[in-house]
């Protein structure tokens, strides 16, 4: 007697069921919520509103500001993390670097701290009354208002850089150590200088690893919430209101879940567009 399903489907079934329960159902439910005027204080009165929650976002300046802030944050943070991470990976990969194993361990520590603790830590480190950083800068005659309206978003991006450059470093270092040695030996025989080796040999060979590292970090950076919650609460004004924090405010402070779910879905679209764009640019440059 033939089994009802082929073995491969039977083996897949448990995973599909689990994913369906933990991802599929919440996603489908949040899509349903986004199409209703679903408010937690009046769940019984939720009515179908169609695309009204989505259309309402078009005329919602706070939403667009949050999207703009998030994109800026991601570009600044991930851009700096890539540059610093790659530079550090090259240094740690170089055999002449003294104590490189010790530095490798030390440099990885920030990413093992929970982000909310990092947020609180920097809230005090950069605090104008108590912070050691403003005090040290003051001693040098430098005055920086870290959480003023001009710098606040950049300060949050720098905190992200402090915490997540090690992640970039880890991936890029693993990539560097896995590269074949022959192209480097050939380049050396041809008389390539240090910079030319990096520019024409290391970077092209590392492109897939860089791509993976940047995409993973970008997706993670889009979820930025903890630093905003712990330090600025989106202020001054709306200058550090990121989309995740905005969704939290609308959904969990004001209980308007329909609108919050619609925002979450638009975030998915923004993220997907960025990912596709990145793939397109990198593939085109590869050809």
């Amino acid at each position: 007697m033939q089994p009802l399903l082929h073995l491969k489907y039977r083996l897949l079934a448990p995973l599909v069921l689990v994913l369906g329960a933990v991802i599929g159902y919440p996603l489908a439910f949040s899509l349903w919520v986004s199409l209703h005027n679903y408010t937690l204080t009046a769940i019984g009165q939720a009515k179908l509103v169609g695309a009204a929650n989505y259309l309402g976002l078009l005329a919602n300046p706070s939403y667009w500001r949050a999207i703009g802030n998030t994109v800026t944050f991601v570009l600044v943070a991930v851009g700096l993390e890539l540059i610093l991470g790659f530079g550090l990976a090259l240094l740690l990969h170089h055999r002449a670097t003294p104590l490189r194993h010790l530095f490798r361990s030390l440099l990885l520590t920030p990413m093992f701290i929970t982000p909310i603790a990092v947020g609180l830590m920097f809230r005090f480190l950069l605090n104008s009354q108590l912070g050691i950083i403003p005090q040290a800068l003051k001693a040098l005659g430098i005055h920086v208002d870290w959480f003023g309206s001009r710098l606040a978003l950049f300060s949050l991006a720098l905190i992200d850089v402090w915490q997540w450059t090690p992640f970039m470093l880890l991936l890029l270092l693993a990539g560097l150590e896995a590269l074949p040695t022959e192209p480097f030996e050939a380049a050396r025989v041809d008389g390539a200088s240090g910079w030319n080796m990096v520019r024409y040999v290391t970077l092209p060979l590392m492109r897939p690893v860089i791509l993976a590292a940047v995409v993973i970090r970008m997706l993670d950076a889009f979820k930025v919430y903890e630093y905003v919650y712990a330090i600025t609460r989106g202020g001054p004004g709306e200058s550090t209101e990121t989309i995740q924090y905005h969704i939290y405010r609308v959904g969990f402070l004001y209980f308007r879940m329909g609108e919050a779910a619609a925002m979450a879905y638009t975030l998915i679209i923004v993220v997907l567009i960025l990912v596709i764009l990145l793939f397109y640019v990198l593939r085109r440059s590869a050809t």
């Binding site: 009046a42 019984g44 405010r249 879940m257």
Partner: protein, 453 residues
């Protein structure tokens, strides 16, 4: 193939971002059902439970909670069948925990505390038990002894849903020694042609602030932090300028001339007399600034005074040099916490027994003597409280403040209105928007929010 696999993984990751948003919740009880009179619709007080009942109480982790926790063993000794379990947590964690408890088939919390912006929202949603009949059935409770404006916050559509726990009305705390300093008095007299006194108008407040700044002390430790904080501080300025959020008919008037004047003066004070880089300051930073002797005045919670004047407290040698006054203009912003009983607890009678005991005249007096923020008139006028507490002058001033105070906003959308208006105010202080732009945007947003069902 690899690309497709990667895209699939990325899609799953991206979708995961949205999946951490809203989650399914059980249906709430319709408001009409929850508004039925409480189970104990009798004239007799509720009887103690025949079997042991454990009541879970959600609390904010603040000094007033410690006092309640210290008093509670007295209640448990008198009522051996009722055990009290506290779940104390930071403010930020409370609102969603309380809501989740409301939406559960059976409440997680038998007793909750309700911040004033949540009262109308929770009561109108049918989440709270009306307490009128319990109050009427409790001998000697004297509900009208609570100061009027404090008491009224717990009343929604003519029914009582909360009884006062403690107040956080705002007052002006000053360094009295600076105002009494003959040198400063002479300088101020010479410069402005009038004596240096604690300001009672906005114009005087800004002038006094700028004067102290010239003497090397910041004039005001302000709290322009986005959201609740800036609105809580600025609305005192708004009252002093003759403005309000809404008029008596419920029309939004936060963009009128009085509001314009109040915000212009507030920003002038921030720019010319407040500590630099304080755009994100809340009450803890302001308190620190006062305690460090850095600032001459602050508009903050009235019970900050005993904290500052406490020997060996945060102000060190400055303890005893601070004094409390009414805010300029007299009318202050009122904040309160109320005790309430969720609609879905099966232990309503036992919950009321605890709440009514704790807020009774006798126990409330003990609570205030131990340092709790007062809410009852009889307690604030009690000579024993004056002697054992923080002195006659303090309680008299607090009573005056409470009698002429109003909450930031009322209605089912108060939380959102407060946060949104506070965002525009902070934008104006930060210079991101002009005063007129910020107030116009705040008014439009308030109208939009108020128009929602």
């Amino acid at each position: 193939m690899k690309g497709k696999l990667l895209i699939t993984i990325l899609l799953a990751l991206a979708l995961g971002i949205a999946a951490c948003g809203p989650k399914p919740t059980p249906a709430a009880t319709p408001a009409s059902e929850a508004e039925t009179p409480a189970a104990a619709a009798t004239t007799a007080p509720p009887a103690p439970p025949s079997e042991t009942v454990t009541l879970t109480v959600i609390m904010e982790q603040v000094p007033d909670y410690d006092i309640v926790a210290q008093l509670t063993p007295q209640f448990e000794a008198k009522n051996p069948n009722i055990k009290i379990k506290f779940d104390a947590m930071p403010y930020d964690a409370m609102r969603d925990k309380i809501l989740t408890s409301f939406l559960a088939p059976q409440a997680t919390y038998d007793i909750i505390i309700v911040d004033n912006p949540w009262m109308d929202e929770f009561a109108k949603a049918g989440f709270l038990t009306p307490l009128d009949e319990y109050i009427a059935a409790t001998p000697g409770y004297d509900f009208n002894d609570f100061v009027g404006p404090v008491r009224e916050i717990g009343v929604v559509d003519g029914k009582v849903y909360g009884v006062p726990y403690y107040n956080y009305a705002l007052g002006m705390i000053v360094r009295q020694d600076l105002f009494d300093n003959p040198d400063y008095q002479a300088k101020y007299q010479a410069k402005y042609g009038k004596p240096l006194t604690v300001p009672t108008t906005l114009e005087d407040y800004v002038q006094v602030g700028q004067f102290f700044k010239e003497q090397g002390i910041y004039g005001a430790a302000m709290q322009p932090q986005r959201g609740y904080k800036v609105f809580e501080e600025w609305k005192n300025w708004l009252y002093a300028a003759g403005g309000d959020l809404m008029d008596a008919q419920g029309n939004v008037i936060i963009d009128n001339e009085a509001a314009q004047k109040a915000l212009e003066l507030y920003i002038e004070m921030y720019k010319t007399a407040a500590p630099p880089d304080s755009l994100n300051w809340g009450f803890d930073e302001s308190l620190r600034s006062m305690a460090a002797g850095e600032s001459a005045t602050m508009i903050s919670y009235n019970w900050m005074l005993p904290t500052l004047n406490k020997p060996g407290g945060p102000a060190g040698d400055l303890a005893g040099k601070f004094a409390l006054y009414e805010v300029p203009g007299g009318k202050a912003v009122l904040g309160t916490w109320h005790w309430a009983i969720p609609h879905n607890t099966p232990n309503k009678d036992a919950a009321w027994m605890f709440v009514s005991w704790l807020t009774s005249k006798m126990v409330d007096k003990q609570r205030v003597i131990m340092g709790g923020a007062p809410t009852r008139v009889s307690v604030m006028t009690d000579t024993e409280v004056w002697e054992k507490g923080f002195g006659k002058g303090y309680y008299e001033t607090v009573l005056k403040i409470l009698e002429d105070a109003e909450p930031l906003a009322r209605g089912p959308h108060a939380e959102e209105i407060i946060n949104e208006v506070g965002t525009y105010l902070n934008s104006a202080v930060a210079g991101e928007m002009s005063v007129a732009q910020a107030l116009k945007a705040a008014a439009e947003k308030t109208r939009e929010i108020s128009a929602r069902p």
